[in-house]
Amino acid sequence: MPAGWLASILIHACVGLLIVFGFPWLFTSDRDSVAVEIVPVEIVTIAEVTDVSPIAPMEEVEAANEVPPEEIEDEPEPAPEPERPRQRSLASFLDDVTKTKAPTQRPNKGPRGENPRMGAGRSAAETVTLEARAAAVARDHILRNRCWRAPADMPNPDQLAVRMRFRLDARGRVVGRPVPSRSAMGNPELRVAIQRAEHAVLQCDPFPFPNDPALRDHYDLWREMDVNFDFREMSG
């Protein structure tokens, strides 16, 4: 009995001590310092993802085009579920904290696409970099496949710039018709310039974003496209 009482008193005392000392600690500057350091952890993590390597070579792009054509869908496919942050162990989390405290020990950038953390959790810097990559992929795709017949044969091609807005489904396929930024308004040259810009989009359908390791999980980046066809020079 005395032993039981003793144990009970001890346990209650422990609980009391934890309440007294543990909870107030959560609101001390110690916790704030940990939370502040978490942001750089994200930067370290993103740095590996945002290693934008050169645009995929032609073989890669063509490989993307070899996906057998499928039925055209009226509606865009739902976006792939963004890959949620992996459940990480306490040890790995603490490792990250350690890394933030020693930024010079940041690992070298690995090949693109290595980082498993992709999806909604992007910093502004990563978004900017990925957008630049996506734009480069689109440009490369249109140029390599010679999709755009420029209005270079018309009297004033510099006045025939046309923007085309369109939507892609998650497989990179054009959904519906591209919408031009301008109306021909009875101008036959502008009408043809609009027609050629539309043809460029349709001829380049599908776009190879799903085949790009760094972009395939960022559908939100390339779901809506706004391509400005503004002739400056002839391709070789």
């Binding site: 502004a124 391509v227 400005n228």
Partner: protein
């Protein structure tokens, strides 16, 4: 106490980590939401394009009877040939076609044409009308856009089937380039035959694709320098049928000919004004050549240049406000532009060599010319202010440019080497599409007609 401290540390650390993870997740969520709401479409700038020939499928036009079927097949062949020769289109070989179309009013299976890389599809139907005439209906489909973009119907006599084909080709050209075509047009030129010492020069006319050639003048006298009116089927030319040079007007539709006038001294290079109501020409008085304008209705002459140098080869701008001409007033033949009344002449050519035979494009954006430099002759273009000079072709002798009605193609004549007879060639504004015209005899000094109506 040590145990308590340990417990305290562990508990505190765990609670802090849990709180931090909650904060991280909340932060990521907020960040993602902010990005989703703020992000617009992905913006891409495309500034580099190509001008490869557009792949187009042109089916043999359907015919209800044997004669209509033959006409339909022949018409489709001429359309393919016209478009292919422009170098802006690449007609796909009919043997590759998958879909057989029996009703031109039913939308085609676009996938069957897209797999052939066709971007446009032309289908048509030929019908023999009760009065014996030929009726042609055609439709143009945008394969990539999967829509109908053009179609017309023509009716004419059976023997006029080539003109119908050219008109269909012109319509396809306009629908797909935004510019008028040039296929339903003709060329007048000097047909040359016989030995060099007794050369016979006769005017000949043919379609722009070399079909239907026929002589306009006979072999009894020399006829040279034909020039087309930019608006009517009328030409001017010089003839020696009376033994001395005279300028004639020749209406090709009425086959009526009249003398423009007897002029003292030599007369050179008459050209029509854009409205067709007057001509500019050079009159040579005692070795001083000056440019005059003559009203065709009143036959009154107005002197436009007054300079001791040789002024010649005048050509109007399409709006009639300016004239480009050739003068050696700076020591060697160069190009000058002046007002239509002769005011404010200014030199526009400053390259190496001697410039001559300027012709203003019907599109008004360029002036074509002949340039002689280093013993070779070249055909080139420059803008009316003298900038953007480009040489399109060069040989031992390239000379006498004339513009297609849409200002996209230039025809000229070439003597490939000393002693070679002249032959006519065409080249487009890019200089890439250089082709020899098919003529039965040697041919020089071409003049391209406006589109026929």
């Amino acid at each position: 106490m040590r145990i308590l401290n340990a417990l305290r540390r562990k508990f505190a650390r765990g609670a802090a980590i849990a709180a931090a993870m909650v904060l991280v997740s909340a932060g990521e969520l907020a960040d993602a939401q902010a990005q989703d709401t703020a992000r617009g479409p992905l913006r891409v700038d495309i500034t580099v394009g190509h001008l490869d020939p557009m792949p187009i499928a042109i089916l043999d036009f359907i015919g209800a009877d044997a004669s209509a079927s033959t006409a339909g097949r022949d018409i489709a062949g001429v359309i393919r040939s016209d478009l292919e020769r422009s170098a802006l289109f690449r007609p796909i070989a009919p043997a590759a076609f998958i879909e057989r179309i029996s009703d031109i009013n039913v939308p085609p299976r676009f996938a069957d044409w897209r797999v052939l890389q066709a971007q446009a599809l032309a289908v048509g139907e030929a019908t023999t009308l009760p009065d014996g005439r030929l009726r042609i209906q055609y439709r143009l489909w945008d394969v990539l856009g999967q829509q109908h973009i053009g179609g017309q119907m023509f009716a004419s006599t059976q023997d006029n089937w080539r003109r119908i084909a050219h008109k269909v080709a012109d319509d396809i050209y306009k629908q797909l380039t935004g510019e008028d075509g040039y296929f339903d047009s003709r060329v007048v030129f000097v047909s040359e035959s016989g030995p060099r010492t007794r050369r016979v020069k006769r005017l000949m006319i043919m379609d722009q694709d070399s079909a239907n050639p026929s002589f306009l003048t006979n072999a009894d006298y020399q006829a040279i320098t034909p020039r087309f009116s930019p608006t009517t089927q009328m030409i001017t030319y010089m003839s020696y049928e009376t033994g001395r040079p005279r300028v004639y007007l020749y209406n090709l539709e009425t086959n009526r000919r009249e003398v423009l006038g007897d002029f003292p001294g030599m007369t050179f290079a008459p050209r029509f004004s854009p409205d067709g109501n007057s001509v500019v020409l050079t009159l040579d008085h005692n070795g001083n050549a000056e440019i005059y304008r003559m009203d065709l209705r009143t036959r009154q002459r107005t002197r436009l240049t007054n300079h001791p140098a040789i002024d010649t080869s005048a050509s109007f701008a399409p709006d009639g406000s300016q004239i480009v001409f050739n003068s050696d007033r700076a020591g060697s033949p160069q190009l000058y532009v002046m007002g239509a009344d002769g005011s404010g002449p200014r030199r526009i050519s400053f390259g190496d060599g001697r410039y001559s035979t300027p012709v203003w494009s019907p599109r008004s954006d360029y002036i074509a010319f002949t340039r002689q430099n280093g013993g070779r002759f070249a055909i080139g273009v420059m803008r009316p202010d003298g900038t953007g000079e480009r040489i399109l072709s060069e040989s031992y002798l390239d000379e006498g440019p004339t513009w297609s009605p849409n200002g996209r193609v230039i025809m000229f004549f070439r003597e490939a080497h000393p002693g070679a007879g002249p032959r006519m060639w065409s080249v487009d504004l890019t200089g890439r599409n250089l082709r020899q015209m098919s003529t039965q005899t040697d041919a020089s000094d071409p003049a391209w007609s406006p589109l026929r109506r």
